[in-house]
């Protein structure tokens, strides 16, 4: 019964809590935001920045799809096209996908989920937002002045010797932004280690915390390597010193090794937090403890560890020896094991669960389906024989978009919809949000499934034109991108609308039992009025909770 008692305040204080100030109305003015040390406000600042970069990256994606509507270069020539897809990749990867879930949802939720008043280093946290934007400014400067055409991978010697575009400012922007990621990750790790509320043992932590922890480990170990690699590229380009230049005795493949040593684990930086979000959503919307909680938690760590041992699968056709290629191929397939463990455990959680198809759950279910396709095609491209054929084709493009967009962005949107009442205390339109989930799912599949076929038929990536027989599939893809764009625009509209006109959500609109809902929504600046004492795990729903949820859901509708 003590578990019920611990949760009791949530329902009883629902009406009275708004009399006390929360983090949004405790102080006003731009200074109170730009100089805030509150992790929740910093999360909101990040939300704004990240959304802006997402929109910019989305515009470039739209231009790519528009150009590929016809086989000829009707809209732009090859040089412009190279810049457009490069800017799309650079902005989406470094300024949206990597920071999105950790810096927005993670910043907001980690202290709430561990029952702390703030992250361990609030100043560092604020600094990370400024550093992120500083890096963004460098990259934007490059965009405004004509962009980069190297692809987001900056392969040498093209990036160091032959490209005539703004490689150094872009690289500098990524170098600087890397620090912001490191600051955030460092904060998360020490907060999770040292600032958990009394009674909050490791196995009572929400799975989002476990995946955030694993992500932070990858960031700490990987990001410095891309930093030094990019620095070397900059120096090489600036002074022509021959580190990666074969004419001067350098080895361009060394760059590929160093780049992918970070950039492959970076894929897990993007997907692990997404998996954490989905674990939360599946558990809470099935009203069940996540099946195999410990295994799911350790699977995150396993993915983080294995993620560092597979970078060589990007070099199968770059002159890697057949022996190392074989080893990298086997190791890459091993990553499928913990990933599949997660997918199976989410599915098992749904079994006999009390499932409600609220918007966040729709996104989560979409994630599971799309990630499964992305993951399985990942095993295909990890296979040496297949990769030689589909390498650098749209098959690979479709594969990683299924993981990054179908996976990460679906989970990010699902998480935003789930925690939006927590962040703002407001409800958004149920109909529009369900519509957007549907549009994103349909639009996404329509955009990227044809690309699997295109790639398999041999259409290479990164070309501005293609043989006319590929046009039908490309038109389908572009049509899908339009639907997808509408699906992404909708949330911006109704989230914005909800800020002013949305109904008050109450403290716990979902009737969830995890710690972050055990305080008012929006939370007070200090997160909890008294330090919480945790007596149960995050998904311990009782029959009464399920009943409560049904009543609360009726209100929500």
């Amino acid at each position: 019964m003590d578990t019920i008692a611990a949760r009791a305040p949530v329902t009883t204080t629902a009406e009275t809590s708004f009399e006390r100030p929360n983090y949004l109305n405790s102080s006003y003015g731009w200074k109170s935001w730009l100089l805030t040390l509150d992790h929740k406000r910093i999360a909101i600042l990040y939300l704004i920045s990240v959304t802006a970069f997402f929109a910019l990256g989305g515009i470039f994606a739209g231009l790519v799809r528009l150009e590929l509507l016809t086989p000829e270069g009707d809209l732009m020539g090859p040089d412009t096209y190279n810049r457009v897809f490069t800017m799309h990749g650079v902005i989406m990867v470094f300024f949206f996908l990597i920071p999105a879930i950790p810096a927005v949802l993670g910043n907001f939720l980690v202290p709430l989920m561990v029952g702390a008043k703030d992250l361990a280093m609030p100043r560092l946290n604020l600094a990370s937002w400024y550093v992120y934007n500083l890096g963004g400014l460098f990259t934007l400067w490059a965009v405004v002045h004509g962009g980069v055409d190297t692809g987001w991978t900056f392969y040498t010697p093209f990036s160091t010797t032959y490209s005539n575009t703004y490689v150094i400012p872009t690289a500098l922007g990524i170098f600087i932004t890397g620090f912001s990621t490191i600051f955030t990750a460092l904060n998360f790790i020490i907060t999770i280690h040292r600032m958990r509320a009394p009674g909050l043992s490791w196995f009572r932590l929400p799975l989002f915390i476990w995946s955030t922890y694993a992500t932070s480990l990858i960031i700490m170990l990987g990001t410095p390597v891309i930093a030094i690699t990019i620095l070397l590229v900059g120096i090489e380009r600036g002074f022509h010193i021959g580190i990666f230049d074969p004419r001067l005795g350098g080895d361009p493949v060394l760059f590929e090794h160093m780049f992918w040593f970070y950039s492959h684990p970076a894929v897990y930086i993007m997907i692990l937090p997404a998996m954490g979000v989905v674990s939360e959503l599946v558990g809470h919307f099935a009203r069940k403890k996540v099946f195999g909680y410990r295994i799911v938690a350790f699977a995150s760590v396993a993915i983080a560890v294995l993620g560092f041992l597979v970078w060589g699968h990007h070099l199968f056709v770059a002159g890697e020896s057949v022996y190392s290629a074989t080893v990298f191929s086997v190791l890459s397939m091993l990553v499928a094991v913990p990933s599949a463990v997660k997918v199976f455990n989410w599915t098992a959680t749904l079994y006999e669960g009390s499932i409600s198809y609220q918007t966040p759950m729709l996104y989560a279910l979409g994630f599971i389906g799309l990630f499964t396709i992305g993951g399985l095609t990942g095993v295909m491209v990890a296979t040496l024989g297949i990769d030689v054929h589909v390498h650098d084709t749209y098959f690979v493009v479709a594969h990683f978009h299924y993981v990054m967009v179908g996976g990460t962005i679906m989970a990010y949107l699902g998480g935003l919809h789930y925690w939006w009442p927590k962040m703002t205390g407001r409800l958004y339109s149920t109909f529009l949000s369900r519509l957007s989930a549907l549009l994103v799912f349909v639009g996404f599949n329509l955009t990227f499934f044809p690309q699997f076929i295109l790639g398999y038929l041999g259409m290479p990536r990164r070309y501005w034109s293609y043989p006319p027989e590929f046009q039908v599939l490309n038109v389908l893809s572009t049509a899908g991108a339009t639907v997808l764009g509408v699906g992404y625009l909708l949330p911006i509209c109704y989230f914005g609308w909800s800020l002013r006109y949305g109904a008050k959500s109450g403290n716990n609109p979902w009737g969830a039992v995890s710690l972050e809902w055990d305080t008012p929504s929006p939370p007070p600046t200090e997160n909890f009025y008294t330090t919480p004492v945790v007596t149960h795990g995050p998904y311990e729903y009782l029959a009464e909770d399920v009943h409560n949820r049904l009543t609360q859901e009726a209100n929500f509708e």
Partner: protein, 245 residues
């Protein structure tokens, strides 16, 4: 860096120190920042690790050119600098010890000595860089004159030529790595000295004593780390060609 405890470990009117608002106790605050510092050093290891990897690979590809290029570095200055840095690690540790035994003047003395030794290191490094500039051992197009590398001993030059016809070119890669590695290290030294200067300022204000000296300890970790990087750089860069003499 750990700026948080710097300003937050303040003593209130009642003479007791209070942790920053997000912490429950001073002990928790200290433990957290210590863990944070070690994690930061992990990222530093990975950062230098990338450079060391590049070095190891090229040394493996071009062992003779690397040995020849290494022999032009001045082991004497490198050795002196190693000693200087080890001494500075000692004075850094003594500064922390002074805080532990509440000898506030000692903190100031030893912090000053550490900064002085750090600057000595940078001065010697500047002398060495100048020598490389004079000898035109500067890779790429940094100088107006192109990179030039030639072994003075004709016999050695002939041997090197036979083993690796492109050895001056590959020596250029050695010097590129030499300048980048020592340059990144020197940048870390400069940052360290700046932090020490800030700590010196706080020490003068009497911020640190046996109850609270965490920023000193964290900076000490950083300083020792930067020293250890040099302990690896010195043999890799300077002693590689020693056997040719």
């Amino acid at each position: 860096m750990n700026s948080t405890p710097l300003v937050d470990g303040h003593a209130h009117g009642d003479g007791h120190r209070h942790p920053a608002h997000q912490f429950e106790t001073m002990e928790q605050q200290k433990e957290t920042s210590t863990l944070g510092m070690w994690l930061f050093l992990v990222t530093e290891i990975m950062f230098f690790g990338g450079l060391f990897t590049a070095y190891v690979i090229y040394r493996h590809m071009y062992p003779d050119a690397f040995a020849a290029a290494s022999s032009t570095l001045d082991v004497k200055w490198g050795g002196i600098n190693t000693a200087v840095l080890i001494c500075s690690s000692l004075t850094m540790a003594l500064a922390i010890r002074s805080a532990q035994v509440n000898w506030r003047k000692g903190i100031l003395i030893f912090l000053s000595l550490t900064m002085l030794l750090g600057l000595t290191f940078l001065g010697i490094k500047a002398i060495e860089y100048r020598a490389k500039f004079v000898e035109r051992h500067v890779p790429g197009d940094v100088l107006n004159e192109p990179f030039h590398f030639e072994l003075e001993n004709h016999h050695e030059a002939a041997v090197a030529q036979a083993q690796d016809p492109l050895y001056p070119r590959h020596a250029e890669i050695f010097f590129a790595l030499y300048f980048i590695m020592t340059g990144v290290h020197a940048t870390h030294m400069i940052i360290g000295i700046l932090i020490l200067a800030v700590l010196w300022h706080f020490s003068r204000k009497g911020k640190f004593d046996s109850e609270y000296y965490n920023p000193l300890e964290m900076t000490g970790l950083y300083w020792h780390f930067v020293d250890i990087v040099w302990i690896f750089l010195f043999p890799l860069l300077y002693l590689l060609g020693a056997h040719t003499h």
